[in-house]
Amino acid sequence: MAEAGPRVGGRSASFASIVARRMLKNPFALWGGAVVVLLFLVAALAHFISPYDPSAVDTGIILRPPGAGHWLGTDELGRDVLSRMIYGARISLMVGFVSIGIATVIGVIIGAVSGYYGGMTDEIMMRFVDVMLTFPVFFLILAVIAILEPNIVNVMIVIGLTGWMGVARLVRAEFLSIKERDFVVAVRSIGQRDALIIFKHILPNAMAPVLVSATLGVAGAILTESALSFLGIGVQPPTPSWGSILTEGKNYIEFAWWLSLFPGLAILFTVLGYNLLGEALRDALDARIN
């Protein structure tokens, strides 16, 4: 992640190489990174590696336990669980990235404007953040999706619209301190436009904590999507999502344990991967630790 470009968070290249070196030395980063890369590959190659069509119904082999032919068993319609989980990885990945993308863009804009302009603008925006933070977010998500229509697009949008507050606060705090620095005063004194100062000069220097929070945010979004699908208002059948496989398996849990165990483990390991990566990134970007 951090080693992708020559400049991380606008700092010098040497900082990027320090971050990269710290990441490579951290077992958390390696494990987390491995899980994330593996998941990307599975999602990208789903069409090639999945042994069966994920929605191919075969009533002759319903609720077959894991074994040869169907490594992770079959579900109540005789569909191959492994194939459904491989395609489910796509949903998790998409929800994670799109919703956190939305949340990050909103959070960065609100935080940047708030921190840069200060005063009344800041006051109003931060009170709005406070109000949003008092809602039990899961209630809000549930209400909006059920009112609109449960489908994957709405799930991604609503998770994004209810998840930007933390980013906004982070970015605002960074802006408050960076805008007083000499280089900002300098570009301002030559009459640069505000938008240019905000996005070109200050924002790159404020991205480090955003990167950490976005990585951890992907983990949270995947959990939220699976919980929504579990409650039946997330991704709708027949699209396979890890959460919805769990819901369908719930009714057979006493004798078809594989329907409940494997998708749960997939969620657990994916979320764990992003959390480990995010924590490692936080440590690596922390200038105080040498």
Partner: protein
């Protein structure tokens, strides 16, 4: 302290207004009108009757007027009547479901507080020890586990396989014949799994924060001073360090209230507990808008109260605020 309390409570008023605005906006995102579900599917309702209903719910007026009317009733704690067949007042329906949810959440907070802080402190005093590594692993796995999934597994293991605990509801069939003490035990047996499981995420998160705070505090000069003047390690950790490391944790516990309340939807649905979370799920699925709005506002208000309590305990613990 009194002036701090006054200021703090006054700050809640604009937030309360904001909460009602957002709740109102969320409900009016819906395409069509809130009464459509009652009118469109009912062939007996004439256009005239529908118009009458629109007038009754003020749907014929512009949105800001509708909001003002709703807000005025809200101030009198009148959330209107449920759209469900029983047509009962929303507030009554919520109030009868609230105690069990509050009981679970307050118990979870107690479990979180009692387990997370010792875990974090012990990890921080022995960094990189076996215990620290094991706790770190537990923290990451716990934080990444989907609660509803773990609940299912726990239900099957402790409820079905071992038969130790009941798997759904909050009381047994023979509840009426039990003595008060047995009734209490019966509730407790039903609520053990939901309480433990709903505390897991915040517990792991909080023990991590405690560890980080303790590590930071322990590096401070006054800790070196305390050690230099010959304090025992116990006194250094528990009297000097923990007190200061705890301050931010109090605030974070306050901030975890919305997550706990939000999580109640999941745990109450899995364990069939008739609380506020389950009521919310039912009301959302039935598009019972007055009830949805009522629960959103009350859920957010509970968070406000939680944050207020957290800030007050912070103020009590921190002399800079107490005497400020």
């Amino acid at each position: 302290m009194a002036s701090y309390l006054l200021k703090r409570v006054a700050m809640m008023l604009p937030l309360m207004v904001g909460i009602t605005v957002i709740t109102f906006a969320v409900i009016h995102l819906a395409p069509g009108e809130p009464i459509d579900k009652m009118t469109d599917l009912n062939p007996k309702i004439s256009a005239q009757a529908k118009q009458k209903m629109r007038e009754m719910y003020h749907l014929d007026k512009p949105l800001p007027v509708q909001y003002a009317l709703w807000f005025e009733r809200f101030v009198r704690l009148d959330f209107g009547n449920s759209f469900s067949p029983d047509n009962r007042p929303v507030l009554g329906k919520i109030m009868e479901r609230m105690p069990v949810t509050l009981f679970i959440n307050v118990s979870s907070l107690a479990v979180i507080f009692l387990l997370a802080i010792p875990l974090g402190v012990i990890s921080a005093t022995r960094p990189r020890s076996m215990f620290d590594r094991a706790t770190t692993l537990f923290v990451f796995v716990g934080f990444s586990t989907p609660g509803f999934w773990l609940s299912l597994l726990a239900m099957i293991f402790f409820g079905v396989q071992l038969g130790w605990l009941p798997i759904s509801g909050i009381r047994s069939i023979d509840f009426r014949e039990l003595s008060s003490w047995e009734k209490f035990l019966d509730y407790l047996r039903h609520l053990t799994l939901p309480i433990l499981l709903s505390s897991l995420t915040s517990l792991t998160f909080l023990s991590r924060i405690t560890r980080q705070n303790m590590l930071e505090v322990i590096r401070q000069d006054y800790i070196t001073t305390a050690r230099a003047k010959g304090c025992s390690e116990y006194s250094v950790v528990f009297h000097h360090a923990l007190r200061n490391a705890l301050l931010p944790i109090v605030t974070i516990i306050g901030l975890s209230v919305p997550a706990l309340i939000g999580g109640s939807v999941i745990f109450e649905t899995v364990f069939s507990i008739p609380g506020m979370g389950m009521l919310f799920y039912e009301s959302v699925m039935a598009r019972d808008y007055p009830l949805v709005m009522g629960i959103l506002v009350i859920g957010a208000s509970l968070t406000l109260v939680g944050n207020l309590l957290a800030d007050l305990s912070y103020a009590l613990a921190d002399p800079r605020i107490r005497y400020g």
